[in-house]
Symmetry: C2
Subunit: 338 residues, 2 copies
């Protein structure tokens, strides 16, 4: 690696320092179950303290064209958080807890400092979730990626007992509360449309909530692991969870409902954050398109018993009751009330 | 998805048929341990029949710029085999057996038939290895990938008992045999250089072994799982294995050796396949460069007791003794004898 960068006139010492910091960040994620150190072969993870019916839950995902915006602004670290948190949320909805993570980063030409920043972001997010970063690959692919663009993908492996798997469709009934947990921004969805909507606009403009447009658009994807841990450790039963990703609440919430129930969601229950209002206005999306392309301020949805709703709001001040389950009529799995 | 392709004038019916075939191929990989069907959330894999000290071994990798050549020639399926077999070999060297796999495919614009062919290749290779394909992601990333290029990455999760982990450094001694297993071609390494070396040449030219140049360069990465299964099930002890990937035998074989031993490899032990001789001649690489950039015909290397070498050659007719372990002098971990 060193020779190649020397030829290209890159500051090798800065690159080496960045890589050392990255390696330290990766090592800081290691739990006692990790058997191999950075740079060995495949990552080794000892399975201990298994539940009676252990089930591994695995998910691979990328962060979409948010990487393009991050590359343009040179903000790599947040993308690492996006990648990890998106993947963890994806398995959290099945009630799995993350064990370990692996990442893949590729570009036409890898800048060592950019890679180190991105991987450090991955490591930080893993560490925050108690998830070991046990492997990864970086690839230089001239001719495959456009100049200054890169892509990242990640894989999380989590664990759950078979009896604890969610959703528990048989437990859901009419009047169950639909609780929303706020997103931190568009997370990792809708960025091809977002990039069109912001073309030619000032990314440093300040929005009504005091964030810059760039800051609002690059805010890392929120991880909902700690919120769900708090709920469950306090004895609350979550019957189902939907991670609001591509397809929005319109496509993701119906995926966790039984055929006889429908989600009645009142969108005025929460205040749509300024960045979403701007994006909708600039792009000319209609109401339904907006809730299909963007999360519109709600990143995770929980189904709980109606009696549990109030105490859950006490426990999680950010949580909002956004609707309830009703009998399904006309085959509609979700009704959005403006 | 359908609307988008309709607008672009794509043959939707052909695309749908391709996707249905792909889904059938994916389902055909499912073992009884797979709990979820295609299209659900994260893939679910029940852990059963665990060894006393179960260790998960995980590896993420891509296939390098071989994807560029495959895209140019429209041969997608083989790349799926490359991806899976590369990853399985990577964990096989630690003596792990694959449980399941997840893939990631991204391009500026995804052609449904190309994606279906690539994923079908992934599924075929998984099925051949008894490995379930339980998840994956396809992403359209305009502006990130160049036109007509795509990238694929994959993650394999395997299992091994802690006591069976390889390499077993303490067991290796002077005179242990180094056995090579043939590669099927350059596998997935050296393709940026290979693409330069073949620029302007006729890809349909026929090589001395009857293969076309294109055929030799796109031959899927070999999976060594069945060969190692045969050896171990016949009672042979493998002390260490090295998968000859990026860095060649020069960088990969030393990774599995104890500090006091060196690998003495006689490169005339095997016949270098025609495609490698051509690539070396066209690119002007010297001897050492060739064995660092390319596998030169040997894709997997095993360290075994010297007494086991002959019976192993009887069991695996393709296997070749390519050298032996010697006392390490001058700090050299590998000596290549021309």
């Amino acid at each position: 690696m060193t020779d190649k960068y020397k030829e290209a006139g890159v500051d090798i010492d800065a690159g080496i320092r960045a890589v050392e910091l990255m390696k330290a960040a990766v090592r800081s994620t290691f739990t006692p179950q990790v058997l191999a150190d950075v740079g060995s072969f495949g990552g080794l993870f000892a399975l201990t303290d298994l539940p009676p019916q252990p089930v591994l839950v695995a998910s691979t995902d990328g962060v979409g064209t948010k990487v393009k915006l991050a590359a343009e602004l040179g903000r790599w670290k947040g993308i690492g958080h996006d990648l990890v948190n998106h993947c963890i949320n994806d398995i959290l909805v099945q009630n799995a807890r993350p064990l370990f993570f692996l990442d893949y980063i590729a570009a036409a030409r890898l800048e060592p400092e950019a890679v180190a920043a991105a991987v450090t972001g991955v490591a930080e997010a893993c560490k925050a979730a108690g998830c070991a970063l046990i492997g990864g690959e970086t690839a230089e692919m001239p001719g495959v990626y456009t100049e200054n663009a890169f892509d990242m993908a990640g894989t999380v492996i989590g664990l759950v007992d078979r009896d604890a798997l969610l959703p528990q469709l048989a437990e859901m009934t009419v009047n169950d509360a639909i609780i929303g947990l706020p997103s931190s921004g568009p997370h990792t969805n809708g960025y091809s449309l977002i990039r069109q909507a912001i073309a030619g606009r000032d990314l440093e403009m300040v929005l009504e909530d005091g964030q810059t447009l760039a800051g609002a658009l690059l805010a890392p994807h929120r991880c909902y692991l700690s919120a769900i841990d708090i709920l469950q450790q306090s004895g609350f039963t979550v019957k189902g969870m939907a991670h609001i990703t591509g397809g929005g609440i319109i496509e993701n919430l119906p995926r966790i409902l039984p055929g006889h129930l429908s989600a009645r969601v009142v969108t005025k229950s929460w205040e749509t954050p300024p960045v979403f209002r701007r994006l909708v206005a600039w792009s000319g999306m209609n109401f339904m398109e907006a809730f299909r392309v963007l999360n519109m301020g709600i990143g995770m949805v929980l189904i709980v018993d109606t009696a549990a709703a109030e105490p859950i709001l006490d426990l999680l001040p950010e949580a909002i009751v956004i609707g309830r389950l009703v009998e399904r009529k006309n085959g509609e799995a979700i009704q959005l009330i403006a």
